[in-house]
């Protein structure tokens, strides 16, 4: 229960931002940051809780974006329906890639490489296939009505992406406390030991991949509604795979708030650096690299993990009475 209260407080605090902030630049920054956070939340289910490090979450992001784009541009489907279809298509691609990779028993770096390869294959296909607009990409018509899932106001877009992030937070929290989540974490920690305890590791990983893909695909669908344009490099490019994995790793891998904290931190640093150094190309990537090195060196469980460790240390120090006898008996 406490955990859901924490989610409610964080979401409520973020929801108040448009009341005070009217700058479109700032709101645009926050919308993009939350969109990256959502993609990272998807990655975190599979990578953070399941220990399966995907380097190809662009496959799901792009599939979500392209699915809703094609449905709206070529078939006149409603934006909300396109959104749902995009999530479903992303989940299906997750099921296919996961089914192939996990059945083949690919683990750790082999799994990472295979996911990267799938995303690259999709990027190349999207850059030549007529249905994805080949090299030109797809533009969907400006139609600023809520029924079409487009909004005049940045603030509304902000609240929509915040709601999606909130749903992902709740899904993650529910997962953490469920049997599925406990088994998923067990698979991350030691797959053989988990199997010996009755865990069907392949099925658990596949389930996590599908949920993970669906959430990241939702971020892709949102991208489409917000920018109204997609091409192969934007949809399936490695940039989004990297953002989706960096944000939870920096924020706190395998924690509920990890991706959100990571996205806010990384994006703020990137923007801050741009303000100071001007729009030097690649500067934000250098910042990511430096932050990543520091986090992995000094806080391997990310910012949230480090804070949790400090909190636990402090409460143990001041709150709990010391029990030297019990410690000695088992220490």
């Amino acid at each position: 229960m406490k955990a859901f209260v924490a989610i409610a407080i964080v979401v409520a605090a973020l929801a108040c931002v448009p009341v005070f902030v009217h700058s479109n630049v700032v709101l645009n920054f926050l919308v993009v940051t939350l969109m990256i956070a959502l993609a990272g939340q998807g990655w975190n289910i599979l990578g953070g809780y399941g220990g399966q490090y995907s380097f190809g979450h662009a496959a799901f992001f792009g599939t979500g974006a392209y699915t809703t784009a094609i449905l709206q541009a070529d078939y006149g489907v409603n934006g909300w329906l396109g959104f749902a279809a995009g999530i479903a298509a992303g989940a299906a691609v997750g099921a296919i890639i996961g089914g192939l990779a996990f059945r083949a028993g690919l683990r750790s770096s082999y799994f990472a490489l295979v996911t990267l390869a799938f995303a690259e294959v999709l990027r190349i296909l999207a850059s030549v296939a007529p249905i994805t607009g080949a090299g030109v990409g797809i533009l969907i018509k400006l139609d600023l009505r809520a029924q079409a899932f487009q909004f005049q106001s940045r603030a509304i877009f902000y609240l929509v992406i915040l709601a999606l992030v909130a749903v992902a937070l709740i899904i993650t929290q529910l997962l953490e406390r469920s049997r599925f989540g406990v088994w998923l974490i067990a698979v991350r920690e030691n797959e053989d030991a988990a199997m010996a305890l009755g865990v069907n590791a392949t099925a658990i990983k596949l389930g996590a991949m599908i949920v993970s893909a669906a959430i990241t695909a939702a971020a892709g669908c949102f991208y489409m509604q917000y920018f109204l344009f997609i091409d192969a490099g934007l949809g399936y490019g490695t940039w989004i795979s990297i953002e989706a994995l960096l944000t939870p790793i920096i924020g706190g891998v395998g924690t509920v708030f990890g991706a959100l904290v990571g996205a806010l931190m990384v994006k703020s640093l990137g923007e801050g650096a741009k303000l100071i150094a001007g729009d030097a190309p690649g500067l934000d990537l250098m910042i990511y690299g430096a932050v990543l090195v520091l986090v992995i060196r000094y806080a391997p469980r990310g910012i949230v993990g480090a804070l949790a460790d400090i909190y636990a240390h402090v409460t143990r120090r001041f709150a709990a009475p010391r029990k030297p006898a019990a410690e000695a008996a088992h220490g």
Binding site: R179, V182, A186, E189, A193, G198, H330
Partner: protein, 250 residues
């Protein structure tokens, strides 16, 4: 008489040119402790891996509770009630002791409160009650062995395969551990244990199989096995055999 809970029939397992297990047969009845002893490299752990589904046998059959379960994957065998520990303990290092046991408890209890209650009860039963909130990687070797046992017990097994749970423990820790194993046997669980600590085997096991170079070279009560010249030659050595015999009044 009904068939014993576990029946292993002529199981062989080949790794390339190496025949690790060669037509080994054994049975393990409920509520009994059966020991599997033999020199290093005899194929004991390989045989466990075949019984628990981690390896498929090259030949032979494994029957459990009257059914042929040969080649079933480990998670289905665990659901049937076959649990194994690992020779090299495999805790979920980043999780607390409670969460480690919880993974096993969830096999029979979907709901979190019920599974947590089972996990905590078993944690206390094996003597980990005071350290339930500690991360597993902070436990001592003895603590990790207890945790390994607690985790599999949480799956409510009918057949428990213990792979050297006493190895690495000092004599006083072994003395603490033996009654725990005995208590679970008394509850009706069939236990098969691979063990090098012969004193424990002599005092715990009702029946002993001796494996050497993949074959069962002897079986019988601990006393019979310790007196068998083939076992003395292949595994025990003359001095240890004499000691064990005198300790058991032969």
């Amino acid at each position: 008489m009904a068939e014993p809970l576990l029946v292993v029939e002529n199981v062989s397992r080949r790794f390339g040119g190496l025949l690790a297990v060669n037509a080994a047969s054994l049975t393990a009845p409920a509520a009994r402790i059966t020991a599997l002893i033999g020199p290093n490299g005899a194929g004991k752990t390989t045989l466990f891996a075949v019984i628990s589904g981690f390896l498929k046998p090259s030949a032979g059959r494994v029957r459990y509770a009257g059914e042929d379960v040969t080649g079933e994957p480990p998670h289905l065998l665990a659901r049937r009630g076959i649990a194994r520990t690992f020779q090299i303990v495999q805790p979920f290092a980043g999780l607390t002791v409670r969460d480690n046991i919880l993974v096993g408890a969830h096999l029979r209890h979907r709901a979190r409160p019920a599974a947590l209650a089972v996990a905590e009860g078993i944690g206390r039963e094996v003597g980990l009650g005071d350290v339930l909130d500690r991360p597993a990687h902070t436990l001592t070797v003895a603590g990790r062995k207890r945790l390994e046992l607690a985790r599999v017990l949480a799956t409510a097994p009918k057949l428990l395969l213990l792979d050297e749970v006493l190895a690495g423990l000092n004599p006083s820790e072994i003395r603490d551990f033996v009654p725990v194993i005995r208590a679970f046997c008394a509850r009706g669980i069939a236990i098969v244990m691979i063990e090098h600590v012969m004193q424990a085997v002599m005092s715990l096991a009702a029946h002993v199989y001796v494996l050497a170079e993949g074959r069962v070279i002897a079986e019988g009560t601990p006393g019979q096995v310790a007196a068998d010249p083939a076992v003395v030659e292949a595994y025990l050595g003359r001095g240890a055999a004499a000691q064990l015999r005198s300790a058991h009044g032969h």
